[in-house]
Amino acid sequence: MKFKAVDAVSIASILRTVGEFMPEVTLVSTKEGLRLGGVDPSRVAYVDIVIPSLYFQEFESGEREVIGIKLEDVINALKNVKKNDGLTFFTNEGKLELTIEGDFERSFIIPLVELEEPKNPGINLQFAFKAKMLTSTFNETLDILSDMGESVVISSEDGKLIISVEGDVGVSRVELSEAAGNLIEASGTNASSVYGLDYLLKTTKMRNSSDVVELMFGTQLPLKLRFQLPQEGYGDVYIAPRAE
């Protein structure tokens, strides 16, 4: 497989996000594009990233190619990428060749790892509430609530989205709504669930790859975060509810 992206920062952020959840990942490429993700080792979250071939400046793939990468290796190689750097991934004889084109060209050769190909679980969840917002709004909300406690209550009340954390010093609560202008869209019925704040915070790096995030949840249902990517790509993160 070979693909070239014009925005190295965006690809790096996607990989860093996945790296927050798992140490290794399987990349599956088909003519349609690239898919990566899996269940995190603690089985609390499931990540599913789909990047269509049109997202890339160049994209070559066989019918179906599967490779495993150790994310730490790739993330380390990408740690100094800049906004306008180009990035090429190319697999060759059990190795991943990675080239960053910017002020000067940098190349890395990273060994591939043998991984079991994850089976994509069938997902059929009916969420009670959905809200769409800017990824920056979502990140600011998490920023306000971080360090306040370990679990976050996400609830919907009369079309409003309420995100709150109960900590030792009290309760922090953020209310978002279409009327207030901080939700782009919101629909659904009242619901409430508790999630691990740690897991939500792991998604904040998607800010560099995605401008809009859709949040979906229901009472005692997972939280689904869909980070929209160009060309109808997406980064889905599902987080299991905590039993409180």
Partner: protein, 599 residues
């Protein structure tokens, strides 16, 4: 093979203390074990992922991180987990309770993928634990926690209990290596008559998992052809102890090779092509602490396929004179090993050759082994054969003993040179007898005892552990029998060290391998060995050591702590038989003294 089976057997094993029953139940588990997983199952029973000598990393998940993982797996807040832990006192039990009572929050439950992941199997558990151990570098703590939480999430409550205990290093099964050997003989030989074959193989290749794998896959006959393998430690031959030079010479057949007994670190040195391995008396891989010795071995010993044994002795960098054993501890503690090498140089004194060029020398008599050792060594200031002499004279032995003491050695080792003077790996016998300087005074003979319980102090030491219940090892029964309660001899620093050591090993109930009538404030898992000295050995109704004599047990009067013995495992402690021998000698001396006085 499902991990559930292991957890169920662990649960049953934990509830029994009879060694016979333990062996029988363990044998039952071995019968049900897939031969290809035999090594892994044995390691899990031993509470480890691989033998210590491999130098592979430990799991590296402390109590705090386990609490986090239990919280993630059970969906219960960390504070709640901690609260339950405080009331229950056993994290394994906590994991079991919380798993039973809380709803699981696995994402797989919602994604319809649960059938892909099924129940836990042994290989999966083992591989995930290996991943945890091997995770290193930035962010590895988080990964370790999450991998373990994933295992717990998939585990049943009972499986979770033993997974947590395994990671904590507190399985509490009461199974020692001896019981595993018995169970292997019973399973694959049909009776305990095969125990010597299994034990011999284990003594020559001290990797219980590997021995179990060979026996399960290739049968018990295969074990007969096991010979030492460079890279896998062999269990060291041990010496008996006596204090009368005439009796010592008599015991070894009248003529003996007498080696200086150096106050250093006993080392088994293996060379396999370019690789050199140094193993401690407890068969830990200590190669990294002695890179200078590695260089000496490569440079001054001929060949690249051998196992030799010797003593690494600290020497004064200025005078070259021998220094006390404790100086070697700096090598363990120093981060910069090269600085430690400069500050604490060592000499290597070799005294045996166990294997050379494909040939097993353990079956050869000592003179043949020494001859081969002399052939391959190019002696110099740093690497020598231990100072020695051949004698059949009691006077010369006594004189040589004093000479050894005056030169900084601990005493001498008197070794049989007869045709049967083979290397008895893993055994303590009369082919080697030590004569140490402390034997010259009245019970100035120190003993190495195992801590099995602790008592809180009063007054200045209030709230702190200040005395220890000590036990000797009874190898026949594979148990620890109490000998004394030691409360003096500790420095402030040693007292502080004691608090943390005991806290790590304390337990609410008596360990199944401990035989005691005295009930301490806290019981302690037998793991720590301390050197103790006392005034004399007396009969005591309170202690259980040598209780079968019919006169009550034996105990040490006025015991005093000398030092920790981290180089010794509990099974290396002074045996109950040795305590009895010391008592008999002392008794005889008193009788002789009374006769002298009467005359």
């Amino acid at each position: 093979m499902e991990f559930k089976l292991i957890a169920e057997y662990f649960d049953r094993l934990e509830k029994i203390s009879s060694r016979l029953q333990l062996t029988s139940l363990l044998s039952d588990l071995f019968h049900k074990t897939d031969p290809s997983l035999m090594d892994k199952v044995v390691y899990l029973i031993q509470g480890r992922l691989w033998p210590d000598f491999t130098g592979m990393p430990e799991l590296g998940l402390g109590e705090k991180f386990l609490i986090k993982a239990i919280s993630m797996a059970s969906g219960v807040k960390e504070e709640e987990v901690e609260k339950t832990y405080k009331s229950v006192g056993d994290l394994g039990e906590v994991a079991m309770r919380l798993k039973s009572s809380s709803k699981t929050s696995s994402i797989l439950t919602f994604l319809g993928g649960s059938q892909t992941f099924g129940s836990l199997d042994v290989l999966e558990v083992y591989n995930e634990l290996v991943k945890i151990a091997e995770s290193s570098g930035e962010g590895s703590r988080d990964i370790k926690i999450r991998i373990f939480a994933g295992l717990l999430k998939k585990a049943s409550p009972l499986e979770a209990k033993y997974l947590v205990r395994f990671v904590e290093g507190r399985l509490r099964l009461g199974i020692g290596d001896a019981t595993v050997l018995d169970a292997l003989a019973l399973t694959f030989g049909g009776s305990s008559d095969y125990r010597p074959i299994v034990e011999r193989a284990y003594n020559l290749r001290a990797d219980l998992g590997e021995i179990a794998r060979v026996i399960a896959k290739e049968g018990i006959e295969k074990l007969k052809s096991v010979i030492p393998t460079p890279g896998i430690p062999i269990r060291p031959m041990l010496a008996e102890r006596l204090s009368d030079p005439a009796e010592i010479l008599d015991k070894v057949g009248g003529k003996a090779l007498v080696d200086y007994k150096y106050d250093g670190e006993r080392a088994q040195i293996h060379r396999n092509k370019d690789k050199v391995f140094i193993f401690s008396r407890r068969m830990e891989n200590i190669t990294d602490q002695y890179v200078d010795v590695v260089e000496y071995v490569t440079r001054y010993l001929k060949g690249d396929d051998f196992i030799v044994e010797g003593e690494i002795v600290p020497v004064d960098p200025e005078s070259g004179e021998m220094r006390p054993f404790q100086e070697l501890m700096h090598r363990r503690r120093k981060n910069d090993i090269h600085e430690a090498i400069r500050e604490y140089p060592v000499n290597l004194y070799l005294f045996d050759l166990i294997y050379y060029g494909g040939k097993d020398y353990t079956v050869e008599p000592l003179p043949a082994r020494r001859q081969k050792l002399e052939e391959i060594i190019a002696e110099n200031d740093k690497v020598k054969i231990a100072e020695h002499m051949l004698t059949d004279s009691v006077d010369k032995l006594t004189e040589y003993f004093h000479q050894a003491i005056s030169e900084g050695a601990e005493g001498v080792m008197v070794k049989s040179v007869g045709p049967n003077s083979v290397y008895q790996a893993g055994s303590r016998g009369w082919l080697w007898i030590k004569l140490k300087k402390d034997y010259q005074s009245e019970m100035a003979d120190t003993v190495d005892l195992v801590i099995v319980g602790a008592f809180y102090g009063k007054g200045k030491r209030g709230g702190k552990f200040s005395s220890l219940l000590m036990a000797a090892y009874n190898p026949d029964k594979d148990v620890f029998e109490t000998v004394c309660k030691v409360a003096s001899g500790f420095s402030d620093q040693e007292l502080d060290e004691m608090q943390s050591k005991i806290s790590e090993l304390k337990r609410s109930e008596r360990h199944p391998r401990v035989v005691s009538e005295m009930v301490p404030d806290v019981w302690v898992t037998p793991a720590l060995v301390a050197e103790i000295i006392g005034a004399e050995i007396t009969i005591s109704p309170l202690h259980t050591c040598c209780r079968e004599t019919g006169k009550g047990g034996l105990s040490i009067r006025f015991p005093r702590f000398i030092r920790w013995r981290p180089d010794k495992s509990p099974e290396d402690a002074t045996t109950t038989k040795e305590i009895m021998e010391m008592y008999s000698k002392q008794y005889k001396k008193v009788e002789e003294k009374q006769i002298d006085e009467n005359i």
